[in-house]
Amino acid sequence: MLTRAARVDPHLDLETYDPGADLMALNLGPQHPSTHGVFRIKLYLDGEIIVKAVPYAGYLHRGVEKLCEELTFIQIIPVVDKNDYVSPMMNEQAIAMTCEAMLNIEVPRRALYMRTIFAELQRLASHLLWLGTFGMDLGGAMGGGASLFMHCFRERETILALFEEVTGCRFHYNTHAVGGNRHDITSKFSRDTKTTIEVIEKRIEEYVQIFSSNRIYRDRTQGVGVLDGDLAVSLGITGPLARASGVDHDLRRDAPYHIYGELDVNVFTESAGDCFARTLVRLNEMRESIRIVREIIDSVPEGPILGMRPGKSPTHIKIGAGQHYTCLESPRGELGTYIIGGGDNRGASAYRLKIRSPSLHAASCIPYVFPGHTVSDAIAILGTLDPIMGEVDR
């Protein structure tokens, strides 16, 4: 029998793991509610204990990167919305920021403020969705499964209503353009935002009470799915997952973009690295997002929202040879875009476009974290990893 530490080398043969034991292979997924998408993990079980976990990605692969080589830079923004479909604003911003950096376009300050507000509201909506589905994953542990889910979706809906007011869409906004934004905000948006975040702020405290007083919840999350900080950064894991493992790293504070350089962004870390720590970090981030929105919502400057002349043709943005990588802090970590310019349509398409998705890195820790836990723990761990399959497979 190997020790736990030796077991978590994902490349060992199955025979080396447990020579004598009669392992049972169990397929978790591809269509299992806890995967929040289509993802398959082959579990090798000794009784109820997972000995080895082999994830298989690619069930939702849509060839977005190939498609982006075919479409022009203006056409790809609504396409990348569907990658991380829980936070589409971030996908748009990541593409737009890379194009702006390559073309040396300065984004107007009003657009930067709007992007920051959209990003923080989106982070709040994304974490709310995570919290609701996590409550459902844990089933009875959070007061009967679907109740927390319904609460969180009620709050998330109010944020989507704010976005709908600005862009006309609940989900796939297509509101960012290279050089700025396409839809301007009004004073009504500011008023509605303030009322909305006030309500959500109160409700978050209610959710915290549901957790902190719940013995079953603590038992199911404390000490479960411990991810080592060094392993996390070596895997390229960033965002709340890494911060829950004690990695003090947040691109909003450390490599500021938009107007984060002028704000004091508080970064919350926990040292335990288990499911409970990841919950605490995300809850604190929700409070912090509310604080940031409240701080800047009244000081949005007047002015233009697009830093370049709008064009009528879908090919009017052309990027020559060269390559660039820009990234931002999405609700799941470092979301970046690597563009090699000088592609088809005389430079209006990318030669190669790669989306660096934080979810793929998060999912790659499964073979290291799952062994030694029971199948029910696996569901809790998968819930706190919060991988979005549209982004894992792209």
Binding site: G58, S234, A255, Y325
Partner: protein, 165 residues
């Protein structure tokens, strides 16, 4: 240390120890494939670049010789860009490119960064570049029996595929 200073330090490292003469504007530095692993090791162990950020492979066809004078013709090749990042401020990204011929392999970074496992599998799957010493170089996104590598430039976006292979 600011991001600017970190970049200067990275450029100085490339000049002094890895023989990079100049870094063209708007491009990441191009280094020799022999130095690829060593550069990543030095960055991780001596300069604390511990976050594995990205690896991007791209396929380049041979450039046509328009004037037929034999100048500036490039053979078909792969270009692999790698980025690693340091933890905490200034979160500087060190990024470099490597060029290799189509029949050659590039050393894997898996012994340094566990994240290279899946990322390099993805690039192998989609672009076809092979990583030397990778423990488990299988396809990640496409089905195991898929033919060809979709992100290659000689792979048309409307390539027919049979649903019952």
């Amino acid at each position: 240390m600011t991001g600017h200073e970190a970049q200067e330090q990275f450029v100085a490292l490339l000049r002094e120890r890895f023989g990079v003469a100049e870094i063209p504007d708007g491009n990441y530095p191009l280094i020799d494939a022999r130095h690829h692993f060593e550069l990543a090791r030095v960055l991780k162990e001596e300069f604390d670049y511990r976050i594995y950020s990205f690896v991007v492979a791209s396929h380049h066809l041979a450039t046509a010789d328009a004037n037929n004078d034999g100048a500036d013709v490039e053979a078909a090749h792969y270009e692999v860009a790698t980025g690693v990042r340091c933890v905490g401020a200034p979160a500087h990204l060190a990024s470099w490119r490597v060029r290799i011929e189509l029949d050659r392999a590039i050393p894997t970074l898996f012994p340094l960064f566990a994240g290279a496992d899946w990322q390099e599998r993805e690039q192998y799957d989609l672009v076809g570049v092979r990583f030397d010493g990778h423990p488990d170089l299988r396809r990640l996104m496409m089905p195991e029996d898929w033919e060809g590598h979709p992100l290659r430039k000689d792979y048309a976006i409307d390539t027919a595929c049979s649903p019952w292979r």
